[in-house]
Amino acid sequence: MGIVRKIVHLFHSFFLESGAMVCLLGRTLLDLPAALRGMPRTLSCMMQFGFYTLPLAAFIGLFIGMVTSLQTGLELKELGLVEQVGSIVGLSVVQEMGPVITAFIICGRVGAAMTAELGTMAVTEEIDVLRSLGISPVRFLVVPRFVAAVAMVPILTVYSIVIGVWGGALVATSVLGVAPDVYYKRMFDSLELYHVAIGMSKTFVFGAIIAIVCCHTGLRATNGVEGVGKATMRAVVVSLTAVLISDFYLISYLSDFWKSLLG
């Protein structure tokens, strides 16, 4: 009986939380024009999310490219196809690794900070203060973060992809003995516009997911510092899971859509 009750409770919480997040998304979209009025806040969030994440995105992007290039290159070398390493690195980094790993970085670095900040504000009554002043917490806190995340995830992804492709080239030329012009030629030959479109269109959705999940979890934090810690952990786990699940469905739907449009 206890297990059944727990499962029912789990499903109940899942649908309740998902519904609340959809509502928050709706309210955020309705309040989007407020982002223009609160431009300094939005720009400050963009700086925090984007600019300060550049070194980490570069570092991780570099190693994604290098690892992909090395792992596939060594296998391809045995098959005598090492010159194809450029096309594999290009396709995997542009379409999949770049967007997903960048979203992961932002979940861990920016999403966690977002939840911790809003969670602390919730437990110290700062959110209540905003409401008591007739200021909507969604408009004041969520909209700038949402806009910043949706704008900065694609930019960071492009940055990470460029560094990743360069990292792949570094390994391909220095370890695998592939000439740089061959590496880049193979890559651009295999890459179609719709590959780029699939990879980039996902990043907007990832940005929105991270912002909504992390803001929602932060705003609902209770029970002091301990509650903020738990909310932060939950936000990172839920947003990472949501990014992965949405990635699966986005690949299925976006591939057909962009192929029919650009393919």
Binding site: E117, T120, M121, T124, E125, E126, D128, V129, L130, R131, S132, L133, G134, I135, S136, F140
Partner: protein, 248 residues
């Protein structure tokens, strides 16, 4: 601004905090709410602002039932009410000036130059005119509370809800805050609700005193009448408080 609360119930995770609380807050008067810690005084204030919704019962402001108002509908009402939180609850990411200017700026109630003048004036009254650019983290508890008071005053509210206004503030300043509350009520006719443990302050200020015990109002009346209450919980509260005062 007149508040009427009727048969209000509120629970948090099974903890029944308010159990059928009813009270009337008269326009332009100072109403003091007394009660032990955790009896639901702050919860009551948040219901008066519509920040919390009761499980049952109602809150009326100027004859309008706001119990089921949406956030959007509550906005014009909240602008007319100032709530001063117990710990100040300043936004840590903003400076003292920005905290005080927040309401005026967000609602675009005044031009920026005028906002600067109003905020400076209020902060100077509260002895914080030289702390405009300070971050809340660098202020003492009492200073933070005074900034919160200035923040509420900048909006020129018709009603002010004070949550423990003199707790953590030194006696001379506490006395000045009492005078300020009395002056605003007498001069501008601001409706005032004060939730406090400070009995000296309570009896100096109150036009009407309510006492909450176990989520209900168990005693009410003007200060002189309240002092003579025969209710055992009130007697115990008054005796214990005065005992502590004597020891000091």
């Amino acid at each position: 601004m007149e508040f009427v609360v009727r048969d209000m119930h509120k629970s948090f995770n099974g903890n029944h905090v308010l159990r059928g609380l009813s009270l009337d807050i008269a326009e332009g008067k100072i109403t003091v709410v007394l009660g032990g810690s955790g009896c639901g005084k702050t919860v009551l204030l948040k219901h008066l602002m519509g920040i919390l919704k009761p499980d049952s019962g109602s809150v009326q402001i100027d004859g309008k039932d706001i119990t089921h108002y949406s956030e959007r509908e509550l906005l014009p009402i909240r602008i007319r009410i100032g709530l001063i939180f117990q710990g100040g609850a300043l936004l840590n990411s903003l400076s003292v000036f920005e905290n005080c200017a927040l309401g005026l700026r967000e609602h675009r109630l005044e031009p920026e130059k005028e906002i600067r003048r109003i905020v400076k004036e209020k902060l100077e009254i509260l002895g914080l005119g030289d702390r405009l650019n300070e971050r809340p983290a660098n202020l003492s508890g009492g200073m933070r509370k005074r900034v919160a008071i200035a923040r509420a005053l900048t909006m020129n509210p018709e009603a002010i809800l004070w949550d423990e206004p003199t707790t953590g503030i030194d006696p001379p300043r506490a006395s000045r805050i009492d005078n300020m509350i009395r002056e605003m009520s007498d001069r501008i006719g601001v409706t005032t609700v004060v939730v406090t443990h400070d009995l000296i302050s309570a009896f100096n200020l109150a036009d009407m005193v309510y006492f909450i015990h176990e989520g209900r109002i168990v005693e009410s009346g003007p200060p002189d009448e309240f002092r003579r209450s025969t209710n055992e919980h009130v007697r115990e509260f008054l005796r214990r408080r005065y005992d502590v005062g004597d020891e000091r």
